[in-house]
């Protein structure tokens, strides 16, 4: 009987199933097949043998990755950068959204929002070029300014210690408009009655923001932050690669898992270890997302991802 329903369903849904077929084939090939390819991490990859013909080497690739010391460095960098990005970006975006909502007329808002959103639209290649303009030792604007003030120029591209600050700044700069729009949408959705009630109670604007606006933003903040926390082990390759490139001098403070995996694969052609690092990242990421989702479910069931 059950089999019978299945076949009649299949017949009823044939058009819908055909419509789904291209996307299903796409994800099967480009997402699920590579998942099976994880076995490369446990093999000594050689081109003649390919994925299935190469010899197994157990956990050697992982041992290599962890014993080189790279594992700890890139994992720490990835997580710390993402934590800094989450804190700085969200605070700045919430601040800008509240200000945009409270201050100025229609035109001021429109123009400011357009300005803040602009960096979102350019590629990381262009951001890299701009950064080079500003930070270059010989002709960068920052050093031109320092020289103009009679100060010693600083060799930014050779000093790892500056880069955490620079990268946090760049990330905040590029993401400001996007996040501000998200938070602004949430603020615009707040029931105006709450503001009126605060007004009647004699609250000034600071009190109103603290007691009405921010508490109403909690759901949005929590969701956006938790989603970001779920991706804490994913480095933004475009940003790190275009800001740092292959400048090995800076790797101690700027190398993240994604740039490490890319270099191992493309530059040093160490396929086994690169795959091992990738699997390490995927498993870590999966565990984080599951934990975060569990946390969201406990906070508010409807907002959980699944």
């Amino acid at each position: 009987m059950k089999g019978h329903t299945f076949w009649s369903d299949l017949k009823n849904y044939r058009v819908l199933l055909l419509m789904l077929a291209p996307a299903v084939a796409f994800f099967l090939l480009f997402a699920y097949v590579p998942m099976a390819g994880i076995i490369i991490a446990f093999k000594h990859y050689d081109y003649a043998g390919g994925i299935f013909g190469s010899a197994w080497n157990g956990l050697d690739n992982f041992r290599f990755f962890f014993e080189s010391g790279d594992a700890w460095r890139v994992t720490r960098n990835t997580a710390l950068y993402n934590i800094a990005f989450i804190v700085v970006n969200n605070s700045l975006q919430i601040f800008a959204a509240i200000m945009l909502f409270e201050v100025g007329g229609k035109w001021f808002r429109k123009i400011t929002q357009s300005a803040l959103f602009l960096p979102y639209f350019i590629s990381w290649v262009v951001v890299g070029a701009i950064a080079y303009n500003l930070l270059n030792y010989d002709i960068g604007t920052v050093n031109a300014l320092l020289r103009g003030l009679g100060l010693e120029p600083i060799d930014i591209y050779n000093t790892p210690a500056y880069w955490p600050y620079i990268l946090v700044l760049v990330s905040a700069w590029k993401g400001l408009g996007y996040g501000t729009v998200m938070y602004l949408a949430a603020i615009t959705g707040i029931d105006t009655e709450q503001y009126e009630a605060a007004e009647i109670d004699g609250a000034n604007i600071f009190q109103r923001i603290r007691k009405v606006t921010i508490p109403n933003l909690y759901p949005t903040i929590i969701i956006l932050v938790l989603l970001a926390v779920g991706n804490i082990f994913r480095g933004d390759f475009g940003m790190f690669y275009n800001m740092i490139g292959n400048n090995g001098l800076l790797f101690s403070s700027t190398d993240v898992i994604d740039t490490f995996v890319f270099r191992s694969l493309i530059t040093s052609n160490d396929i086994g270890m690169s795959a091992a690092a990738g699997v390490f990242q995927s498993v870590l990421g999966f565990a984080t997302i599951m934990t975060v989702n569990y946390a969201v479910r406990r906070y508010d069931k409807d907002r959980a991802l699944f």
Partner: protein, 293 residues
């Protein structure tokens, strides 16, 4: 008292917003200004916000030998159009099937797609699949395929289509319309706002893409604009050769710094020109995503 609070607040608000807005715009002015500054001035005084010695030399050199730039432009335009059209078609068709409430298996299929955002095989197996098994290296498909379908866009589109009254589908069915016809004739026209937004997101991603070229393209004829720019920024000699044409003597009189900036301007220009007109669709899209996603 209350008036004073409001005034202090507005003061802080205006000052900080204007400061942030300037911070977001200044780098663009720096690039444009540098591209219009005389090379010698850049080399002695550094990049400047206002060109103290105005020169259009960089642009005239850039447009004197425009072949490679035009080639890169054509690749980017072609890939952007192809990717956006294919992507929109597949995204909307998939989303439509998943949004049909009478489709019993829709949750199973949704999960099939969604799971790929939770877990993946990493870069290496994917790269080897593309290069060693699908032989996609140095083909335009290498630039189109990787970004064509995105689970997040499918979800946004699905929730948009899910908000279209079911009665429309029901009555069309009674009139004898098939599933594909309902999608193409009824649902697609009603989904224009979502299509516009996701189309723009796709187009922006394709226009700005350099990563897939970094992985898969070594043939100069297939380099998209951003990757070409990336190559040129890091490779002065290559740029001089490209500028002077093959076989020509490589001279050192090419104004490389201002030329880099002129190239950056030319590669980013179309986006900045389209920006005022399309920005509101992005804002709309984010709002749809924020509320429903």
């Amino acid at each position: 008292m209350k008036q004073l609070d409001r005034k202090i607040f507005s003061g802080i608000g205006y000052v900080s917003l204007i400061f942030l807005a300037i911070l977001c715009i200044f780098p663009f002015i720096l690039v444009v200004s540098s591209s219009l500054t005389e090379e010698t001035k850049i080399l002695t005084d550094g990049y400047q916000f206002i060109p103290t010695a105005f020169s259009t030399e960089a642009y005239s050199i850039l447009f004197k030998y425009p072949d490679q730039m035009i080639q890169a432009y054509m690749v980017t335009i072609g890939v952007t159009i192809m990717g956006t059209v294919l992507g929109l078609f597949l995204t909307s068709m998939t989303a439509y099937a998943l949004s049909r409430k009478d489709f019993k298996w829709r949750n199973k299929f949704s999960f099939f797609f969604f799971f790929t955002t939770l877990f993946n095989g990493g870069l290496v197996p994917w790269y080897l699949l593309m290069v060693n098994y699908l032989h996609i290296k140095d083909t335009l498909m290498a630039l189109v395929i990787p970004m064509m379908l995105n689970v997040f866009y499918i979800i946004v589109m699905k929730s948009f289509m899910g908000s279209i009254p079911e009665a429309i589908v029901e009555s069309a069915k009674i009139d004898g319309a098939g599933d594909f016809k309902i999608y193409a004739r009824l649902i697609l026209p009603l989904s224009k706002p979502a299509l516009a937004t996701i189309g723009l997101f796709l187009a922006l991603a394709y226009w700005n893409d350099w990563y897939n070229a970094l992985l898969f393209i070594s043939d100069e004829k297939l380099m998209p604009l951003q990757y070409y720019l990336y190559k040129m920024l890091g490779n002065m000699d290559g740029m001089r050769k490209a500028m002077m044409g093959a076989g020509a003597v490589v001279t050192t009189s090419i104004p490389s710094e201002s030329l880099k900036m002129a190239m950056t301007v030319v590669a980013t220009g179309p986006i900045l020109l389209a920006y005022p007109f399309v920005q509101r669709y992005f804002v709309q899209g984010l709002t749809i995503g924020a509320v429903k996603g």
